[in-house]
């Protein structure tokens, strides 16, 4: 079961958080709630991994200066929807699985680009189906930040710096 596909953005579905891989005596909540099986699966087998290089490709790169996570996003936008998306990057399981899960969620015109710009931290957390410790929120948010930067540029708008 891949819960992240079922938990629509904006809807909290804690009950559907999948069972964690047996993490033994990691009894602290943080790791137990972050490193669930589907997160590790997306980390090891990232979906939509790669690059795009057509004339319509929009590309942006950003890093998390605190930890050095890197994300490159390659996006094609048609009729205000994301028709194709790929990402590459280096970093922790949280940033990379977030990119994998998020790109699956928004590609193939599933969402209007303006709706994507409205995705919040809570939405992304629900999509990932995990609890994130405070220090790792930036890791999770980096892929969404880069996608939003691309969309804002495409729309000719100033990014909302409060996000």
């Amino acid at each position: 079961m891949r819960c992240h596909e079922e938990s629509a953005a904006g809807v909290r579905m804690k009950s559907q958080i999948p069972n964690s891989k047996n993490i033994g005596t990691f009894d602290g909540v943080s790791a137990d709630q972050m490193y669930r099986e589907h997160i590790l699966d997306h980390y090891k087998n990232p979906r939509n991994h790669g690059t795009l290089a057509t004339k319509n490709t929009l590309h942006m790169h950003d890093v998390n200066p605190l930890c050095g996570d890197e994300i490159d996003m390659y996006v094609e936008i048609k009729n205000n929807k994301i028709s194709e998306i790929k990402f590459s990057g280096k970093g922790c399981a949280i940033s990379q699985s977030s990119a994998s899960i998020l790109t699956e969620e928004i590609k193939n015109g599933k969402k209007d680009v303006t709706d994507i710009t409205k995705l919040s931290r809570e939405d992304l957390q629900d999509l990932l189906g995990i609890n994130i410790t405070a220090m790792r929120v930036k890791c999770m948010m980096l892929p969404l930040k880069v996608i939003k930067m691309i969309i804002y540029k495409h729309l000719g708008k100033e990014p909302n710096t409060e996000e």
């Binding site: 990691f26 602290g28 930890c67 050095g68 922790c92």
Partner: protein, 413 residues
């Protein structure tokens, strides 16, 4: 014989943890991030609190007894630091931290002495705090930034340093101990080379943030011109750091910040500067912090810097041995002289993920680029996991982290 000595040092330091209330308030905490900041003994915590409760007044101003007492304590703190690193009292300037101390040298010395065509030599091991100020000064002045490389074991390449330092070299800024890798740099040799090969007014700036807290340091013996370190890494409070500078240089330097306490006289037209070190301590200083730092020095001296160093060496040797037993773990660098800092990576697991999993076992480590992005790039790494020790760490801490890392590997298996 060696074994016996080791046992002894462990025994002497066995009860140290109980001096640090943080450990009583965080049961079973394994704190392995002292290179970032150290924990504080009760005596330091009390000193700041006692000052505010009993002696608080501004320094160098009041006529009343309380101000005189506060001033005396604050000045005693300068004297204590001076004695601790073998400098004179006028050579000790309190700053916010080591970063500010290095920036002080850059602004007050570098800006007035480095010109177009000159060069500044730093090393690839530098923390951003001893990297960015010099890089920016070079940009501002049209000077050249030269970077000393490391060899395959992550020792600083002294021959490379020799080849970079020439009669156009105005500043050589190097770290004493790499905060990212633990390499101990032979700064005395670098200083000797600089004073022989550099411009006649070339100065040596040592970032001693990772050495002063852990070993006996003699500023005069190092043959350096400036040395910076932070209180919070040496069991003292945050918010106070130290610049040590040769008196003759400090005398001729321009002030860093202007304002109260740093002046001798002010007229509408002009201002003259106060004596050393006050010329460089504008505004109301961190009085309680300075007092806290002086009590931290008392604490370090009571145990003894030699004992602290040998305790940390023993832990480092043990940790290197135990870490080597973990499959897929790579220790970064094999320097000839290593302080109590070990950086490593684990195959298939990003250091942040490792740090999160260790955190859930109450183990604190640093993961990331350690404010050394140029070094990380050179090593072709984005991040490492780092453990670092101070006097309160034990072999048990190392056993706990090794066990927890093996469990973390299972999660990512």
């Amino acid at each position: 014989m060696i074994m016996k000595q080791n046992k002894q040092s462990t025994k002497i330091l066995a009860n140290v943890k109980s001096d640090f209330p943080l450990f009583a308030n965080n049961q079973n905490l394994v704190y392995l991030d002292s290179a970032a900041t150290s924990q504080k003994p009760q005596s330091v915590i009390n000193a700041e609190s006692e000052f505010y409760k009993t002696t608080n007044a501004n320094v160098h101003r009041g006529i009343y007894k309380l101000s005189a007492q506060a001033t005396e304590l604050y000045e005693q703190a300068h004297a204590k630091v001076a004695q601790f690193v073998n400098a004179s009292k006028e050579e000790i300037i309190f700053t916010r931290n080591a970063t500010e101390a290095i920036n002080l040298v850059m602004y007050s010395y570098g800006m007035h002495n480095v010109n177009k065509g000159d060069n500044i030599v730093i090393s690839i091991l530098e923390h951003h705090s001893n990297f960015v100020p010099w890089q920016q000064l070079c940009k501002a002045k049209g000077a050249e930034l030269r970077v000393i490389a490391i060899d395959k074991n992550c020792n600083l390449d002294i021959n490379h340093a020799k080849s970079l330092i020439d009669d156009k070299t105005k500043v050589v800024a190097v770290t004493h101990i790499s905060n990212a890798l633990g390499t101990i740099v032979d700064v005395k040799t670098i200083a000797n080379i600089t004073h022989k090969q550099g411009a006649t007014d070339a100065v040596v700036v040592i970032d001693a943030s990772q050495s002063v807290p852990h070993m006996s340091i003699d500023f005069k013996q190092l043959n350096a011109d400036f040395m910076a370190f932070s209180s919070h890494k040496m069991l003292g409070p945050t918010g106070i750091g130290v610049l040590v500078g040769k008196k003759q240089l400090l005398k001729n330097m321009h002030p860093f910040l202007y304002g109260g306490d740093m002046i001798r006289s002010v007229s509408i037209e002009n201002t003259t500067w106060n004596d050393l070190p006050w010329k460089f301590e504008a505004g109301t200083p961190n009085i309680a912090g300075a007092i806290g730092l002086s009590v931290a020095i008392d604490y370090l001296k009571t145990i003894g810097m030699k004992k602290i160093q040998s305790h940390e060496q023993e832990l480092t040797t043990y940790a290197l041995k135990e870490l080597a037993k973990i499959s897929g773990l790579t220790i970064i660098g094999n320097p000839t002289h290593r302080a109590g800092i070990i950086s490593f990576t684990i195959d298939g697991m990003h250091p942040h993920d490792l740090a999160s999993l260790l955190d859930s076992e109450n183990i604190c480590i640093r993961a990331g680029h350690h404010c050394c992005q140029p070094l990380m790039k050179q090593l072709n790494l984005t991040a490492t996991a780092r453990i670092s020790f101070h006097v309160y760490n034990t072999k048990e801490d190392i056993d706990k982290i090794c066990a927890a890392m093996k469990k973390a590997q299972q999660v990512f298996a």
